[in-house]
Every structure is written in C-alpha cells, then in structure tokens.
Symmetry: D2
Subunit: 363 residues, 4 copies
Amino acid sequence: MSFELLKYTAPDFTQKMFTEAPDAKWEPAPKDKVAPVTYHSTTIFPEYFKVNGNWLLAEESRMDCVAVYENGKIYVREFRNLKQGDLVFVGRTENCEDGIYVYTNGFNERGSSLDDSFAFRLGRSRETAFSKDYDHLYELLEYEREHGNILWVMGPACAFDADSRAAFSKLVMGGYVHGLLAGNALATHDLEGAYLKTALGQDIYTQESRPMGHYNHLDTINRVKYYGSIPKFIEGENIQDGIIYSCVKKDVPFVLVGSIRDDGPLPEVYANVYDGQNAMRDCVRKATTVICMATTLHSIAVGNMTPSFRVLPDGTVRQVYFYCVDIAEFAVNKLADRGSLSAKGIVTNVQDFVVNVSKGVKF
Amino acid sequence: MSFELLKYTAPDFTQKMFTEAPDAKWEPAPKDKVAPVTYHSTTIFPEYFKVNGNWLLAEESRMDCVAVYENGKIYVREFRNLKQGDLVFVGRTENCEDGIYVYTNGFNERGSSLDDSFAFRLGRSRETAFSKDYDHLYELLEYEREHGNILWVMGPACAFDADSRAAFSKLVMGGYVHGLLAGNALATHDLEGAYLKTALGQDIYTQESRPMGHYNHLDTINRVKYYGSIPKFIEGENIQDGIIYSCVKKDVPFVLVGSIRDDGPLPEVYANVYDGQNAMRDCVRKATTVICMATTLHSIAVGNMTPSFRVLPDGTVRQVYFYCVDIAEFAVNKLADRGSLSAKGIVTNVQDFVVNVSKGVKF
Amino acid sequence: MSFELLKYTAPDFTQKMFTEAPDAKWEPAPKDKVAPVTYHSTTIFPEYFKVNGNWLLAEESRMDCVAVYENGKIYVREFRNLKQGDLVFVGRTENCEDGIYVYTNGFNERGSSLDDSFAFRLGRSRETAFSKDYDHLYELLEYEREHGNILWVMGPACAFDADSRAAFSKLVMGGYVHGLLAGNALATHDLEGAYLKTALGQDIYTQESRPMGHYNHLDTINRVKYYGSIPKFIEGENIQDGIIYSCVKKDVPFVLVGSIRDDGPLPEVYANVYDGQNAMRDCVRKATTVICMATTLHSIAVGNMTPSFRVLPDGTVRQVYFYCVDIAEFAVNKLADRGSLSAKGIVTNVQDFVVNVSKGVKF
Amino acid sequence: MSFELLKYTAPDFTQKMFTEAPDAKWEPAPKDKVAPVTYHSTTIFPEYFKVNGNWLLAEESRMDCVAVYENGKIYVREFRNLKQGDLVFVGRTENCEDGIYVYTNGFNERGSSLDDSFAFRLGRSRETAFSKDYDHLYELLEYEREHGNILWVMGPACAFDADSRAAFSKLVMGGYVHGLLAGNALATHDLEGAYLKTALGQDIYTQESRPMGHYNHLDTINRVKYYGSIPKFIEGENIQDGIIYSCVKKDVPFVLVGSIRDDGPLPEVYANVYDGQNAMRDCVRKATTVICMATTLHSIAVGNMTPSFRVLPDGTVRQVYFYCVDIAEFAVNKLADRGSLSAKGIVTNVQDFVVNVSKGVKF
C-alpha cells in the first residue's frame, strides 16, 4: 500500500448558509496586546471569514489566537503580538452566523478514516495496538522526505541512550528531519554524550556512573560557552556524533528555548520564551508532519501552535500530521482531543520509538 | 563480545566461621501448613545448612519459604505445603551463627559486574539507557536457546497488537521459548485474535472496533469450552497463528492460572491458585532465564518463586537471569531490589520490547 | 442539600416497539459451562425479556453473563455455572428486535445529571476537580448507612498507613461498612499492623524498617494458621485494632479471595477463584454502593459483577453507585466507560481518600 | 510532641584535616558567563573554603553553581551571572584536599533522624505510609509561621478544584504562606476561577463544561491585560476569592515565570526565564521551608536552587525543609536523592494534600 494524502474538499460557498451570511466584523485592538472583548478565537481547523462578500481562508492558523485583517489578508496572531489598532475579527459563532466558518471535516470524504479519528479521541493506552500506526508512519515519513517538511520536538530522554541517539542521527543524515525543537537539556546532554560519552554523568551505553560525573554536563556547557557557540564547540573539540552534531552538519535548523530548569544555558538558547515561541512557530509554519517525543512542555506548546492543515505554495490545502509519543498516557492524552484525523498518540518509551523509526524507513 | 556466564565460587568451608559453626537445628511442624515459631525463611540466594558437620545447599530455593530436612536432602517448601512433623530448620541468622549461611555474592568475582548490580538497585526509569541491556539480552537468549531454559511470563497486552503477537510466535517457533506462564486473559485474547482477528473486539492491526465486538472474547471462550480444550479448538477451527497456537504446535508447556477477573475461564486454567502456584514453580525449577512482561500480578508471583541460581545436573551452580519489562516504573521497581546481579528492569511498552527481541536474536 | 436518589422510570410497555416485539427465544445449553452459539450477553443495565407476552426484568444482573429462564424467572448466570439443558436466551439485539430490551436510561429524567455522566465518560485525571464528588459521596454514605448497603473493595495500600487504617476502622465501627472484599495481602498486612505494628516490616506510622522485619508478615500468617482462623487469632493474641479486627467485632462479612501472588494464605482465603467469585457476587447482590480502592485486580472483578441498579424487596428499582479510587488514571479509566450515571472515578492516594471520608461523614 | 529544629554542629576546624589543608585556590573567569576549567561546583550542603588560613562558609548556596570570592566573602553564583575576572574557586575534592570542605552531616547528631533520611533515599511510592509526614508537616508549619519563611511552589492543578483553591487561600490568609512561585497557568486559571468560576472552561466545583468555556481563560487574560496588572484587574472586576487574590490582599510576594506553553501571558509574568530564575532565587534565599506541588518543571527548578541550610541573621545555621508533592512517583523521586535529612516526598493528588494541610494546622 503506497502512501496517499487525503484530498481536501473546500466548502461549497454557493450554499445558502454562506451566501446569506453577513460579512464578518472586526474591531480595533484597544491597546497593544489586548483584543476587543468579543474577539473570535481560532482553532486548529481551516477557518473562513467573509470579507466584502468573499470567504477568505486564514492560511497560517493555530489554536487560541485572534484573526487580524491586514492588507487584504488574514493573519492569525498571538494576543501578545497585537498592536493597538489591529483589526481583530469578533464573533464567537462557527457556522456563518457572524460571517465566520470553522471547517472541521474538509478531509473527511473517505469513510474509512473516521475510525482512526474516533479511536484517537477515545484515548490511547499501553494496551492499544500500535502496529498499524507504525506502518503508516514509515510510509508517511518516506513521502514527507520528498514532498513535505518533518519537524521533530524532543525531550532530553532521547539523548540519554546510545542507540536512540544514533538512530536519530541517522534520521537526520538520511533527510528525515527538517527541523528540531527542543530545550537546553536535550542539547546539553546530547553534546555531553558526544564530548564525554555520558548523560548526566552516566555512560550512555553501559549506564555506569562515571567518577565526578555530576560535573559532566556543567563542563560541557562551560566549554561550549567558552567557544561562544555550538558550531564552534563542535569544530574546536572535534565532535563527531550525536543529534545536534548531525543537525549542524546537515544544516537542519534547530530552535532551543529556555526554561527555569536550565543550567547554563547554551549560547543558542532563547532566554525570552515568547521570542522562543515566535521562532518555534516559524518552524511550525513550514511543517507538514510534527512528531513530539517525551516532553510534555514542548509537546503542548507545539500542539497549540500547529494547525491541522497547511496551504501549499500552489494554493492546495493539505493535512498536517501530528504525533505525540510518550510513556505516560496522561501526556499523550493531553494532546489527544484535537478532533483531527491526522493526530495520533503512541504510548511507549521514546528510545524504542526512535530506534523503530530508524529501522522502519528506507535509507 | 560473545556471551559467557559468570562463574560460581562456592564458599570456602574450611574457613573458621564454617568449621566452628554449630549444626543447624530443626523442629517439627506443629500442624499441617504451620511452621515452628522460629522457622528460618529462605531467600533468592544460595543457602547452606550445616548438617552433621557438612554444609548442604538447598538446591531449589525461592523467597519466603521454609527449609525442610528430608531423606538427607533439603527441600524449600511453601508453608501451605508443610505437613505436621516436617523437620523445619529454625534460626534467623545468616552468617553461620545458627549453622545457616546465606551466600549473597557467589557470582561476584568479576569487579565489572558490580556496576550493573548497583545500577539496578538504584531503580530504572523511562530515562535509563537500555541499549546495553538489549544487546546483552540478545546474546543471553542465543546462549540459552542452546544451553538453558527460557521461561516467559506474560500479561494480556502482548496479545492486543498484531506485530507483538507475530513476534512472540516467531520466538516460539525459533526455539526461544521453553515455557509460558500467564492468565486466562492472555490466552483468551490471543485465541480471539486467531479466531476473530480482534482483542476485546478491536481489530489487532487497525484498532477498528468491530460491530458487536464485545461478544468476541466471550464467543471465543464459549467455543473453546464447546470443544473441551484449547488443542481441540485449534484443530476444530483450523487456527493458524498466535502465541498459544505456536506453543501448542511446538509442544511448549504453558501454565494458565485463574484470577477473580476472569470470564470463562478456558478449560486449561487452574481454578485453585495454589495448585497453580505449584504448577508455575515446576516450570520455574527448570528455568535459567525468566522474562516477565506487562503483568504485575504474575511478575511478582514469579519473582517470589525464582531463585538467583540453579544447580545443573552436573552439580555446577549457575546464575538465573530475571527480567521485568513494564511501562510503569512502579511495577518494574517493585521487583528491582532483589540484590542480584542477574535481575534487570526495562521500562517500555511490551509491544516494542517483544518486537525488538524478535529482531535482535538470530533465527 | 439533602441526598435524594434518582427515580427509576420503568419502560412504557404499551408502546408499539414493545407490543409488536416477538417473544424472546431461548435454547438449551449444549453442555455444562457452554452456552448456545447465539446466546445473549448481559450488561450492567436493566434488561427486559419478553416471555409469553410479558416483559420480565432480569433482576440480579451483571456484565458478560447469560440470561437463563428457570421457574418463571430470569437468572443472570456466569458461563461456568451453566448446566447442560439450562434455557439460555439467544439474540444479540437490544431494542426489542429479538424480544430483548436493554434499558440504558431509566434514571435519566433529571437533565442536570447528564453532565455528570458525560464528564465521567470523558475520563478523570489528576487535574479533575473532585470537590463535588467528595461532598456527594459523604451525603450518599450517610443515606446508605440507614437505607442501603455499602460494599468496600480494598487493595493492601489501605493497610500500609496508620491513619488510613484507623480511618477505615472508624468507618466500620460507625456503620459505614456492610461488606468488604479483598485479597490475602490486605488481610495479612492489616493483621501484621495489629500484631507487630508494621506492614511488610516497616512501621506503619514512622516508616522505620524494623530489624528482621521481612519476617513479620510471614510470622503473622504462620500465627493465624496456628490458631486456625482469624477470629481465634484475634482472641488468642488479644488484637485490638485494625480493619479486619473491626469487621470481626462488628460482624461485617468479608470475603478474601486468593491470587498467585499470595504467601500463606490465611485460613479464610478462597483458594478456588471461581468459588471466590461466587462469594463476592453474593455480597454484590446486596450492595447499593460499591467503593473500590487501590486494587486493579479486585476493582475490575467487582466492576464486572456489579449492575447499575438493584431491585429492592418492595419491587422498586434503585441506582447502584460505583466508585473507583486509584492513584493511576489508567486504573480509574479502565472502569470508567460504564455509561452509567452512578459510576465515578477519583484519582488520588487512597490513604488520603479514606481519611477524607472518615472526616466527611457524620458519626 | 512539640516541634524542634535539629541543632547544627559546625565542623571542628582544630582537627588536623582542616589545619593541615592548603588554602583554597581561585582563578579569574576567562570570559563573561564562563568559569575556569577546573571550577568547583557547589551542592546543597554547607561548604567551607579556606582563605588565608580561615574557613569561610558560602552562606547562600545552591546546587551546580560556582563559588566566587569577592570583598572578603563567598558568593555562590550561576555560571550565566559570572563576569570576566570574577575569582572562581577551583578544585573538585570535598574533604579539604584543595582547601574545600563539603559538610554533609552537620545536622546529624540525633541518631533517630537517620531513618527518615534513609527512607527518603529509598524512594517514596503510593504504598508509603505518610501519616507521620503529615503530622510532622503540621508542626513544622506552625513553627515556621512564627519563626521561619514558608515558600510554596505550585502547578496549575491546585487552581482547578474549588476546595483546594479555598484551602490554599485560607493558608495565605492565616499566615502560612510567605511567598509563592508559579507559572502563567496557575495564575491564569486561578483568576479564571475567581472571574468566571471555571478552570479551562469547566466549573471548578461541579466539573460541568460551560458553553463556550474554552474562551474563559483567554477572556481572563485579555481582561487582566486590559487593566494592565493583576491588582488592577482584581480591583476593577471586584474579585473576591482565590489564590492570587489572597496573596495580593496579604501582600505575599509571588513570582510568575513564563514558559513556551503559555497563552497570554499575564502582565506580571517574566518573559526572560533567567531573569525569572534570579527572582525565584531571591525568594528562596529567605525561605526556611519550601513546598513544591504538582509541577515537575518548577519543582526541579526550585530544588536546584534550594540549599539544605540557611544562615540566620544571628549567624546560626538551621535546616531548610523541602517537600515535593506529586501524584507521580517519577516526579517525586526525581527530587528524592538530595541526601538531606529535611527533604521529603509525598505521593498524592495535590488537591487532597492542600485540603489536608489547611485542616491540619491551627488558625
């Protein structure tokens, strides 16, 4: 079975509900960062706004933002990025009553896919059968390597184990990684693995605790800061392996955003988390498949900024696939109820997941 | 690196602590199923009892039982199997004070292995690096296929997924399974998978819920009971795949023991759990590697009855390896503190684990 | 707000769907323990079977059993309890097509309660607000003390802590416990707590590990077996506190059923788990509120045998309340999708839960 | 039993190991934010540095930082706060070899407390007995209300339930809260609870989902931003209850630090997480008891910056108590191995924990 995207069926705007709908209304933002009281909040689905009798799609959408009309286009903007006077769409209905249409089933034409969707909403657990999800994912990734953009979101656990670290590096080198979002810890422990063969002082293959190993991650950060940047550290210390090393070699963009848990941080890490959100969303805007692994913090952040669709340069609308992989059902199911065909949760140890993927796809 | 067992160094009984120790004492059991008040309770380690000046090893040991002297040998017996008058060793010391010696480090001569042991005692988590454990396990299983006896203990999750079910069947057919301990649910859902392609009514590959699928496991049990036994059901319904099917084809013994959660049960299931314990221990007596997967109930039961060593027919003493695989740290670490070099916990989804093992070993 | 049961509205059998329905059919069981191929499987809801033109309610129902017609009444029977020739209802429809009606919303007349039901089906988590559930439970228990029958199902954790053990004893003495279902471990560790002030060798108040404490639970069992029964042990050793002690003093029936994990077992423990199931169901038949705490094994077993309703001696039908309390969402939500208004899950440590209940109800 | 702090016994510097030790060495930081290669990294314990023959205590310590000599005193400084030329102590030994002494058992004189310490290091689980921990905590809090400084660290779950929200407010009003550390979500949902009676759109008492409730937290943030600050929102909207409201009324300082998961954020939230860390540590410097609840992110952040001791204005050294409360063992045990007498983990739902505390202490 070869992989095929579901086709998007645009709404039929000749229907009465659309032709008789009023134009959508907007009001100016009363202050910077403040929306008008009855602002319309966006979702992960395609949303159309009637402007001068025409239905305009908000092309780069995300959850829990506002829609702003600017230069004949609709921008989906975070509240914190609003400027006083921005024209913000208002109205909280979703079926044309206020000239706004939230289109939840544009990819639904194939009956068989309903089950997937339903299953996901039911919640995934350690007892769910994941065989088909794996098979589907391998096909999807092979397709996306050629035609899409695969964005990975990663917690530090991926760097704690020799095999999963090698497997992810192989995916990077093989073209299966178009972007990486993570925090200071993932990069620190991955570089520690390359520099000193440990993660938090434990050998990443044998699990042995190294003498004075609790210095290892601090020594790594201190050394990177001495060089001034990760690429200079990689060159200066002749680093030859790992997740971050592979991204640097292959020019895969990575965005590292800070948290209050950080030691260091590494020079590339965003200190301002909202600047960090902007940089993350810039990656998400290009992504057609997003895979979040072993990080509740980053997964929820990215889940909120990932829509269920993407408008391609030729104007066609395609699905965005979203995976959340974690050993805890609680984390997986926090992201579950997105009501989207293309969202899937997998409950397992991410070490195994990454190794499986690296063995399942073609190189 | 080719696999090698650690060598057992018997205690040096010419040492003063042994030569000057008194003979061990016993007292008759006052009633059936009742031990004398100061009974000695056994452990997973080799234990020697001084009888008429000679140190006798209790050959087939287990935790939390008593040692009985009978016909010149020492039997490690469950309280419930005691008969009035059985000669039960008494004394609660472990270093010869009462003529009893509990030998905790007979396999410890190689310094390098201490780290393994230490790491295990520290607890395993989703963030532990498991690469070496997997590599070690593959070597161990290849060794045991030729020279040992591999006993698997399994919860129902293994039967809920098409790939893990196929992977385990392959292990059975390939000679990597010498015995299987499970409950009614594992066998029921595995047979349901063979008979109706579902587990609890959900397709084991696509996850789709089948119409009236909640009847499927009951229909399966009802049909097996109609035939009178699992082998007759397999023959009568022309079953061709699955865990239980493979065991039947390869004459691999399996012991199914009941619980209060059971529907049915299947004809082969022990209704009396203590008879079931006896049957399970009969399998454990032969085992040299035990792998418990996704079942707290059975894992703890088997953990309690598995010693850290085995006396081979030629009289040599070898290690028994014990693995506990579960997605929950709580379950894995319940079994962790066995203080034995050869006990290991792996925290992951057992579906991935079984598939990994089937890909990691030679066929 | 004082507590009030929802009223049951019986189906209106004068409706066409009932009057035009055929009589239900039965077939004889072909063998002992085997149902006819198209047997009808029961649910937790009231089910009516049309016999000679009259709709008969299966009064004492449970999940996943068959309905047997005998002496003008309908008995809901486990497959294992079928005798060859028993008249088993057949047909797998639920809306009168085969003369069988499964009535899922007899208690639904009050709109406000729909939300409760919906919320429960959505799953409960550590982030659910439980304040109202607690308040409702206290009112319910006060009502049930006078008018109902409260059955508790308990894992060993309840006996591991001094306060929760004392709190539950207080509930027993105060009349809030009409029955107790548990395993060998709960009783063993509770009696260990009374006899030696420890659970598994740790002080139940200070957490201190006692020297040789690993003998404590075995010593307790051995001593009980010496006396021959729990009541004789309580008398002989002058036991004065604890869960089991309180039940014995107040003549509260308890059913202890064995598992393969047991040491011992205590004399009162059922060795045959299906005899144990029968004894448990005899308690469940009387229960109007069931509270399962910290035991997946027993909770699922009891959940399967507990219907959503009870027929009182005067013929009225009332709700049965079912609570599942566990620290793991996975365990709570396994029992969640019962589709019943009166089923609720609470995610917390059962120590806190029991103490809360003992402080929340009147004495 | 009335509460008493353990006494601190300073090292006996007349001992040979101290008198014969060399002076500690320092080296200048080679660049801003970069330490000399062999920097000494600090711990949670009191550490003494020999300077000109005198042993100086690093008074305000924390984990994984460097010690800087400045104006005759020792400052424990984060790497990111280093300036080029800062004099950083070097040497990685802990027993005077390099003139540095890490003093791990200054509070250890009372034998009885060793057990507590040991128990904690063994890990806490859902089956640990917590009665004594609760009792001890109530006494501690009553003592600290008069003599210490109680700092609370809180995840959003505390604001999701009516009773726990009311309980914490009562603790604030009663003087049991001297500072609060949290993120944008806790403050947002608590204010949503006050403003609209929901958390994430669900009623915080009845769990009912409100129509359009997914707008509620965004409306709350938007309204606070309209006012320009939390206090102005409280005044303008006449807010009368809740966690944040109580802190504002009682002038309890709170520090809110941002993360990539945030909507909004609220005006008071730190966008720069390292500025946020500085503000958090300023609170920690005053704290004598720290209680972390239901937030892995904030708990680990605060755990890293909290030493095991505090130097009081009169120069005496006292213990700092550290609690971590979470429903997940994984989270609790991440913070467990601090090797400190005064660190404790409690595994439960924080709703119950907060209510318990509010009922257990005097008002």
